[in-house]
């Protein structure tokens, strides 16, 4: 049987069950959430290598019913969401003991996972919006879960900006429906390709601008990033790891890729595609530059990581945008493929090292009670495991060979140079060194140096907290060394799914 609806049904069922059982059984969340996320993670890994599949909800054929689609890109995101989800839940068991209302926490966590899974398997624009809302609303509540003044303010800011993005997306989807008369992505794509002959109807152009703004806000691309530097530091550490590790990717980057490559057929090179590709590159460059500059000056560890997320998402978007522009202007397909592959690889790596960094920041805060870098130092001696894993992630994200981050940035830069955008590549290289600089600052201020007063009393965190750190650190090294395996089985199918728009239409509509 096709397992696609299970990716949504299992976490939703868990989310409904946890508060229900929680009325009598206080530990329902801590028991059920790791169990169900582990099942989902195993299912997602087993999905690798299977051919792309379509599931007709309710037995109604598309475009009348809702179709669920799993292709290479969905599989990539499903693996990231469910495995990181499992590790974050594992980390939460000890970390979240300081908070109250835990059944609500685990239920909201499962709803967030369900929403993201729903987004990445959906083959229908409105259905994508509905599950995007589930994931977003759950994350607004989770950001403010501490209910302190700072948390509530960050959550409220995220709520307002996120709602603006949602309204834009809904308006865009409505416009697409009014022009093409359909909501099924493959059906809309076929309509755009045939009826409008690749020519962008002004309604579709406006809808595209709304999609880029709305999903760009969810992805925290500059200039839509204002919510992220507040939301990430205020959230509990496992939630920061989820937000930065997978939420901004599945709700933002994935949705941009899916809509512009598979629905708008940016690769086919219509009138609007060059504009959209240029906008993507512009947002990417802005994110790289502004994220990098703002990260250097931070002394709050989690806020530094948050700005770093903006910069790294810029690299991901740069790879995808360059690929889109090369395809739209009729350049060499191999260069475009390389650029998109680099972007997806960097996204996959960023899932591992940024979740690890946020979880380790949580471990540090758990042990020392602070995240102010001036008050930390010499952590290597007191918390060896946390320090070692943090080091791994910092080296990887800074792009030191042979860690995974080096290879993905290298691929993006090579593709950018090959495509002829030397100036852009130079900016990206300069800011790769800026990334290195602020992670050296992290190492110097937190891991090495003299042992500060707060660190003096710190003890290594319990095993349930450091096991996720170790697993993610292995991933940081492994993705670089195991590229031949990961590249062929996970990344290349994802790239092919993006580049062959016609294949997607064929797959869904038959």
């Amino acid at each position: 049987m096709n397992p696609l609806p299970l990716y949504v049904a299992i976490p939703l069922g868990a989310a409904f069950l946890i508060p229900l059982l929680g009325l009598w059984w206080k530990k329902s969340g801590e028991t059920l959430a790791p169990l169900f996320t582990l099942i989902l993670g195993i299912m997602a890994v087993l999905q690798v290598g299977r051919p792309a599949a379509v599931y007709h909800m309710g037995g109604w054929p598309p475009p009348w019913g809702i179709a669920l689609v799993s292709d290479g890109l969905s599989t990539l995101l499903l693996i990231a969401i469910n495995l990181v989800g499992f590790l974050c839940v594992l980390f939460s068991i000890k970390y979240m003991q300081r908070y109250t209302g835990l059944t609500k926490y685990y239920s909201l966590f499962m709803l967030m996972v369900a929403g993201m899974n729903g987004v990445v398997v959906s083959g229908d624009l409105f259905n994508l919006y509905v599950f995007l809302e589930v994931a977003s609303i759950a994350s607004y509540a989770l950001v403010a879960f501490g209910v302190g003044a700072e948390e509530l303010e960050a959550g409220f800011k995220y709520l307002i900006l996120g709602s603006v993005a949602s309204v834009m997306l809904l308006f865009g989807i409505g416009t697409v429906y009014a022009v093409t008369g359909s909501l099924n992505m493959a059906d809309v794509a076929r309509e755009i390709a045939t009826q409008f002959g690749g020519q962008m109807n002004p309604g579709l152009l406006l809808a595209g601008a709304f999609f880029l703004m709305g999903f760009g806000l969810k992805a925290a691309l500059v200039p839509f990033h204002a919510w992220l530097p507040d939301a990430h530091p205020s959230a509990p550490a496992p939630i920061s790891a989820m937000l930065s590790g997978v939420v901004i990717k599945s709700l933002g980057i994935y949705a941009i890729c899916r809509v512009f490559f598979n629905v708008y057929g940016i690769a086919a090179g219509g009138a609007g595609s060059v504009i959209f590709a240029n906008a993507m590159i512009a947002f990417a460059l802005l994110s790289i530059v502004i994220g990098g500059i703002l990260a250097i000056g931070q002394w709050d560890y989690k806020r530094l990581l948050a700005y770093s997320s903006i910069g790294q998402i810029g690299y991901v978007m740069l790879g995808i945008g360059v690929g889109a522009r090369v395809l739209a202007t009729g350049g060499q397909i191999s260069i475009a493929g390389l650029a998109i592959l680099g972007g997806l690889f960097h996204m996959f790596n960023h899932v591992a090292f940024k979740s690890l960094l946020f979880l380790s920041s949580g471990a540090i805060q758990h042990a020392t009670g602070t995240r102010d870098m001036k008050q930390l130092g010499g952590l290597r001696e007191k918390m060896p495991i946390t320090a070692f894993t943090t080091n791994m992630a910092a080296l990887s994200i800074a792009g030191v060979p042979p860690f995974s981050g080096f290879w993905s940035k290298l691929v993006i830069l090579v593709a950018t140079v090959k495509a002829g955008y030397t100036a852009i590549a130079i900016v990206a290289i300069v800011f790769a060194f800026v990334t290195l600089a602020y992670y050296i600052k992290v190492q110097r201020e937190i891991l090495y140096g003299t042992v500060s007063k707060l660190v003096e009393k710190a003890r290594e965190v319990p095993a349930l907290m450091y096991v996720p750190l170790i697993l993610l650190a292995i991933a940081c090294v492994g993705f670089g060394l195991l590229y031949p395996v990961i590249g062929v089985h996970i990344l290349e199918p994802a790239r092919d799914a993006l580049m062959n728009g016609a294949e997607y239409i064929q797959l869904v509509l038959g």
């Binding site: 309710g58 109604w60 209302g101 709803l111």
Partner: protein, 185 residues
């Protein structure tokens, strides 16, 4: 469609005026009431457009929201909003609003959109023609939302569940436990 167009325009103007009043008024209670007036006008507009299902839902949700908002507002001691205007923000929003209107005129005025009242029925005409024999449901709207697109409705129910759970989670009295309780646990 011609016979109801004047009424729709009147309602539209009423809604725009209501929204502007809601933004500009200093008193929070007046703002809440203006928002509710916009909602009720929208409900009537749905009735004119021949969509009783949506009109009913809009009406009952509006009633409930109005009760909650008014109860929330009258609990506040001071319902007057302080006015401080950020010139830059006003100018930027006006520029973007102008750009949006320009795009809108480009789209609705010319080649972009189908005529009002003559939608593209490529997919929906199948619902209209085969909805009754396929689902045995006399109300076509219900047939679409609970049979053809029941999965979406599950998503909507989850959205409601999530927002209620989120609201309940944020209305806890204390977010974090005291240190001694953590040690005991």
């Amino acid at each position: 469609m011609e016979n109801i167009t004047p009424q729709l325009y009147a309602l539209l103007v009423f809604m725009i005026v209501g929204s502007v009043v809601a933004i500009e008024t200093r008193n929070l209670l007046s703002a809440v009431i203006s928002v509710a007036a916009v909602g009720f006008a929208l409900s009537v507009a749905f009735l004119f457009l021949g969509a009783p299902d949506i009109a009913i839902t809009q009406l009952v949700v509006e009633v409930l929201v109005l009760i909650i908002l008014i109860r929330g507002t009258i609990l506040l001691d001071n319902t007057a909003v302080e006015s401080h205007r950020d010139t830059l923000a006003v100018v930027t929003s006006l520029i973007f609003f102008g750009l949006l209107l320009g795009f809108g005129a480009m789209i609705f005025g010319g080649r972009g959109f189908p005529e009002f009242g003559e939608p593209v029925m490529r997919v929906s005409k199948v619902y209209v023609h085969t909805g009754l024999p396929a689902t045995y449901c006399a109300n076509i709207v219900t047939a679409v939302i609970l049979d053809f697109r029941a999965y979406d409705t599950m998503g909507e129910a989850s959205v409601l569940f999530t927002s209620i759970l989120g609201a309940m989670a944020l209305l806890r009295r204390d977010g974090k436990r005291k240190e001694e309780e953590v040690v005991a646990a």
